[in-house]
Amino acid sequence: MEGTKIPLHLIPCGKSARVKELTSSGNLRRRMLDLGLVIDTVVESLRKSPSGDPIAYEIRGAVIALRSEEASKILVELI
């Protein structure tokens, strides 16, 4: 897996990953950046909501839930 970019929502719960690319644009991109999701940020996937979506992530010490639509626009590398 090392080196391949995958969308954030596909990483298994309990695993951490490093942000490699944001594919969103405009306001959404800005909002992601505001959360501290810049390149090389480490994100941990914490848990899925009862219906599987959204998923909660630990981002820079805060727990943030993202829907798959948004998370799929964050490409990460598993670590």
Binding site: S25, R31, G36, V38, L46, S49, P54, V63, R67
Partner: protein, 724 residues
Amino acid sequence: MGLTSQSTGVNALKEMLDIQLSSSDDIIVALAGNPNTGKSTVFNSLTGLNQHTGNWTGKTVTTAQGNYKYRDENFILVDLPGTYSLLSNSIEEEVARDFICFGNPNATVVVTDATCLERNLNLVLQILEMTDKVVVCVNLMDEAKRKKIRIDLKRLSELLGVPVIGTSARSGEGLEELMDAVYKVSHNEITTKPIRIQYDDDIENTIQYIEEKIKKSVDNKINSRWVSLKLIDGDMSIIDSINKYIGIDLSNITNNETKLGLAEVSSTPLSEVLSTSNDLAYGDLRDRIVSSIVKLAENISHQVVNSQRQKHNELDRKIDNILTSKAFGIPTMIALLGIIFWITIVGANVPSDAIAYVLFGIEDKLTYLFTTYNLPNWLHGALVLGVYRTLAWVVSVMLPPMAIFFPLFTLLEDLGYLPRIAFNLDNFFKKACAHGKQALTMCMGFGCNAAGVIGCRIIDSPRERLIAIITNFFVPCNGRFPILIAVTTIFIAGAVSGPMQSVIATLSITLVIILGVIMTLLVSKILSKTILKGLPSSFTLELPPYRKPQVGRIIVRSIFDRTIFVLGRAVIVAAPAGLIIWLMANVNISGISLLDHSAGFLQPFANLLGMDGYILMAFILGLPANEIVMPIIIMSYMATGTMIELENLEALRSLLISNGWTWLTAINVMLFCLMHFPCATTLLTIKKETKSWKWTFVSFLVPTIAGITLTFTFTQIVRLLGLA
């Protein structure tokens, strides 16, 4: 010239935020910070006011102001909405940014969360770019200590170049030092040297290029480096704000001008820069700007925060593993609600009876007084049997459940459970093409629908915000909730006996609430497919750490607040309503009272819905405040003469039955209570929030149609099957 337009502009902003200065010596202090860091708590402790606090992001959506005295000077504190950044992609961010930038506060306090400092520093750094007069308040120190996070405040202050004060706002720790620092910064007794963010060469060069261009016009009124940065960032709303508040027109520094600057200093060919659309030209720069800030925040945080990171959130995670798990998430949610209802139902019984006993005892005394002094009969009727009695009903039937439910619900809010509800339910809202935060505004509706409607401001997208506003009424507010409880306890549960009573009552209320949630989703979906077409917009939901609720404060505050609120409303609304009912019952036209005339007029329609004319009339008269619906129903039945004395709640059941109530009537009343036109306060709030009569009317119509359709269909089916 600059001065006058400057002052008018600032006045406009002050007016917008409704800042009231008692004298020109007042010192204005802005309170900014990330959401849920305790700004309102700091505000309350300093001002002694009572701004709502709650453990979730976005509790404060409006600005509040209050004042405190320190060293004989008057400080005006402005509680701004919480924001993650000031790069302005929502209204709150713009409000916060404009106030800090153009409201000329004498000092800005940035409240940060000690348990999550790194993310908070982001905003601190952005604010330091705008103004030097900053005090950083590192709040929630008690929680940080509990989580074994240590922060070197002295070092942080050295790095940031501004005073840093550690506080635990809830217990008031550190607030004295905070006031002292604010005093010194606003009086220039401390000169701050804010850290300057160093960007990469391209950006720094472009900043210089643009700064040159605007320096003359901007003149020292606003930090020109910061404005240049915003222009590079592609944030054009800043040009409007500058024009609006300080009367400087920078619109000649247009898009192309900044692009030119970019081309000049970077290696990109001019033609390429000019031909790219905004987003592409700026996208990369924005990333670089934000990255620089985030990296600096990270760097500073590494130098000052010392924690055993892995450990400190263990407990929260374990709790979340249950409360948001696939198997237990939704069942626990329903169970928790059920428990709250059960406590409310059981708990309200005793005080209800006691209050009724006392109040109706007083009524007898009043009657006695009237007869002793030989006062006219009509006066006794109007004042005692009309006004006083309605008041007594409102207080005895409505007040106890409200006074119990409200603190319990606030407890859940303070714990941090509401965002978990939103997390659990989000997928349903997504399927309904609605915003994920609608679950939060829905929860606020339980307290008061008008508050829920205002809360919808946390939803940025206008389409989804409207949906949330229109459907907010599908959860019963604290004022309608007791109607449900009254009907279930005295009617449905009254049909069985023993301890099962409260269980049955709880079950039926829980079912009604679930129905309300289902209707919310269904109607949201229908709206999304018809008049408010569109796809759900992006959203992020923060799940804050669980916090120990302030049980004592909640109980005292909400019982006290609620009691005063309900009594106030009761006096304002119920008293005249009681008078009207009494008059209607006693003014006869061709031998039939006005009350019977009106009820008779509504009867055919009400009958189709499985209710009667008096009930429907009560809902209509209850428009100003739903608290009075049940009392009006009772008053009408009593006025028709079947029963004059009604001294305990047991007797209510016989009163209702003797007026033709069946289980079908009871269910229809509950359904209609859940779904009818919003109360006047809510409607006016909707008008204010949407600035449109059209949407106010839609909000009036939607739940009404839903209620009529549902009760009609249900009644017809039941009657067809011959069940009632």
